[in-house]
Symmetry: C2
Subunit: 513 residues, 2 copies
């Protein structure tokens, strides 16, 4: 599709190659004053937009031919970019071309079928289309009044998701979409501190030694939230895990809480995880919840990666204990196809967070409603403004339907099972943690340095990307299935690469029985 | 353009109406396993995507025919939405149709030419197209290594913007894109607290009575950041403003800081504003900076709305004093055409923030780089993950060029000048604060209740939306120009509506000389 090769005239009028019928009228990019900036005309937007849609479809189809991570060194991309912005506007064809030649070669491709590192960050056709619409609408929902439909759709679709995941009733109408699980963590901790401070804020210092509890395996966002909320690093208690499961040890949690209470400190919050980032370990929620209830400690549950697996009945056991959580967050942008960013979060008592977070000014007078009628979601989150993220969750849940979502999740679990079986079939390797979801943690039965070397060689090939972690102090490789483009063939290929590099590193061939 | 009316088969294969040539290959939505979820095929994505692009262009062109805010009451939209997600997938045509019939009638249209409330939240063709591409790439840049090109483009384009705005050299290579100015505020305060605490975190309570200073007119995000960072509400000092300019009074700031020092407290940060949300007042930065430097107080400057005006040489005086700021943030999603969200922020010493924010785990080992070579932007912000926002800033700056950006900004200023002149020409009204940018604050010379009534009647018409604030304790209307679709005709129409409602309310006609 040909793109405009010259800029429109400064008057914003149609160039000779632009259809005049679609260029009339006002709207974004069509200001009718005779002088002013040269906004993109509606006709140009249509033509360039169609080209962008095709570009995305081509990109997805061409992904397997690209290296999953780029062979670049720091500064290499920047060095090819001009030092200054242009004085006069450039045409869209040039921009798209520069994306191809300057940017793409320096990107890691998270949608690549060989992207098996970290966790998958899935998106989908309906999610991308919804994000386009969100960008076009460009309306923000800081309050019910500034976007009533977005607010009500969010509340409804969060109830849909809670229902799909069979969450406890206490979360009904308590849902909100955060950008990321890190922000959800900070919001939860803020609400916990508010509640513990007798619903007054900490006007007289940080109070009687507030303490926070999580496992040594919890996501780094716990630590970040503790810091941001003004507690010292030493006020975060990292409870050891059981070595085989990598799950928090509730006996040690209870000891820590009781020791702090004896020392005159004030336990405020515990963060348990359903599916840790390191190994997808599942903390024993019922036991953790017991301790929290005994001592009025806020229980936040981080299900960023694995929480959505509860959509499948056979994995719903992961919810056990959630009925006692004060807050719960998941990322649909990891495994549930909505694209980045989308972090659904639920509160058992939304008033705890809105009371802690609400600050007002007279310029928001017209958009401050009655929370009993409709939420002003600005008071449920860190930023004041908020994009219309509910649209992509709505589109994604509807396009796939519950059965389509289950099929997608099950494929990730199935590919991980296939991979784990391959690893177990080679006695040079070991699977080092349970793999109930899409992640398999494994290692060569060899020194950490050999495993680090293995990972380095694997990732240098450009066809696959794995990542690593430490499990019980030992360097471990992580293979995360669940990306939409990753098939059994890609898993088989990854394993053949791993075996071949192991052959070279260990000087041995495959020794499975 | 016809959209698919039936779902593809579960195998993900092409239906009879889908072109097979474009449907082959892997990629998002084209998994090749025989069983699995029915991802959208590339052919469907192209067809639906073209329809979405046309939908957006149509939406922008049809905006003037819609009410700027919807005549709905709480619950009205939600009541029409099903209680549960569908069990099986729905086709995309149905989704788009429901957007039209269920959602749009309940939305406030921020891109409407009559949207004159709050501040404009502008977007543009190139920004929306970049957001589409960002959604399609769906790659995240938590670290240089997870998206080298996005990281380096962000650093470069932030230098471009600093150069366009003629920012002090100290901010070069100190730029990062936050989601919103609220998040920027919290990050700045966190860095300030870190620095003041001797670059150690607050392990022993909140320290020796940390205090924060801002004007009574500062954005509510200052208050929210103070709360989130664990300081009490009473630790925020709200310094009164000069009544004519609504700018912070530096004499009172100095008194407050010195009184706190005498009382053994520790002043940590001051937040000054270039263009307050209420009236676009400009705090006296040089005087504020003087006080901050005398007492080692971190100076954060919030230029969320007005900061980008410095792209115009005739408005560059607003930067006066920025050479002493420790951090500075603006929103390009307000006046600079990039769409929501995009909040560029600069640090004079990025190490202050990265040291305060950096937390690590072994699973991030491969993506932790040397900050002297390339930034890992996760350590510059609250969330761990981050979308590729630099792309839309790059596209927007290049499409418009410096002269196009200046033309756009100048049109907003010009429309505000036209409006202010109209208001001044009617002696029933008064302009109550300086209006150097796109905002005019005005009121009837009458009781607050009459002004509140005036606003209510104006906004009930559906053709325009204004908002309000309090200035020197009196109810004041706000008219914000700068939206891309708003022209001199719309400003004239708004004024005729205002005059007509004033006639009815005051029982008088126009009495200008």
């Amino acid at each position: 599709m040909p793109l405009p090769t010259s800029r429109p005239t400064p008057s914003g009028g149609s160039g000779p190659d632009l259809p005049t019928a679609t260029d009339s009228g006002t709207g974004v990019g069509a200001g009718s004053t005779g002088v002013g900036p040269s906004h993109m005309s509606p006709g140009e937007f249509r033509r360039c937009g169609h080209a962008v849609v095709d570009w995305i479809a081509d990109y997805w189809q061409d992904l397997p031919s690209r290296p999953v991570t780029p062979p670049v060194t720091p500064g290499q991309v920047a060095d090819r970019l001009p030092a200054q912005a242009p004085e006069t506007g450039e045409d869209f064809g040039t921009l798209l071309q520069d994306l191809d030649t300057l940017i793409l070669p320096g990107m890691a491709h998270w949608q690549h079928p060989g992207f098996l590192g970290f966790f998958p960050m899935t998106t989908s056709g309906p999610a991308v289309l919804a994000q386009m619409l969100t960008a076009g609408l460009n309306a923000q929902g800081m309050a019910w009044a500034t976007n009533p439909a977005a607010t009500e759709l969010e509340q409804r679709v969060m109830d849909w998701l809670a229902d799909l995941m069979a969450l406890p009733d206490r979360f009904t109408r308590g849902g909100v979409i955060q950008d990321t699980a890190s922000s959800a963590m900070l919001v939860a901790l803020t609400a916990a501190l508010w509640r513990r401070a007798g619903e007054q804020w900490r006007n007289h210092g940080s109070g009687p030694g507030y303490t926070v509890y999580t496992s040594t395996e919890a996501n780094c966002s716990v630590h970040k939230a503790v810091r941001l909320s003004g507690l010292g690093d030493l006020q975060l208690r990292r409870i050891p895990v059981e070595s085989h499961t990598q799950a928090l040890r509730p006996d040690l949690l209870r000891q820590a809480v009781e020791a702090d209470l004896s020392a005159g400190l004030t336990p405020v919050a515990a963060i348990a995880t359903i599916g840790t980032t390191s190994t997808t370990a599942i903390d024993p929620l019922p036991a953790v919840a017991d301790i929290c209830r005994s001592h009025d400690v806020w229980l936040h549950v981080d299900g960023a990666y694995a929480g959505v697996a509860a959509i499948c009945p056979e994995l719903r056991w992961i919810n056990d204990g959630l009925e006692h959580a004060d807050s719960y967050s998941v990322n649909t942008h990891k495994w549930l196809l909505t694209g980045f960013e989308c972090s659904p979060m639920w509160f058992a008592d939304p008033a705890a967070v809105t009371q802690a977070m609400t600050v007002t000014q007279s310029y928001l007078r017209e958009v401050t409603g009655d929370p009993r009628q409709a939420p002003d979601y600005r008071d449920w989150q860190i930023p004041l403004g908020r994009p219309f993220r509910a649209l992509k969750l709505w589109f994604t849940l509807r396009w796939y339907g519950a059965d389509g979502l289950r099929a997608h999740l099950r494929r990730g679990v199935e590919l991980a099972r296939i991979f784990a079986d391959l690893v177990r079939g080679d006695d040079r390797f070991e699977v080092v943690a349970p793999s109930p979801f899409g992640l398999v943690c494994f290692r060569l039965r060899a020194d950490c340095s050999v495993n680090a070397q293995l990972l380095k060689r694997l990732n240098a090939g450009g066809d696959i990307l794995l990542s690593s972690t430490d499990v019980n102090g030992r360097f471990t490789l992580r293979m995360a299935a669940g990306g939409t483009a990753t098939t059994a063939d890609h898993i088989a290929h990854a394993w053949s690469r791993i075996r071949a590099e192991a052959d070279r590193l260990t000087g041995t061939g495959h020794r499975s029985g």
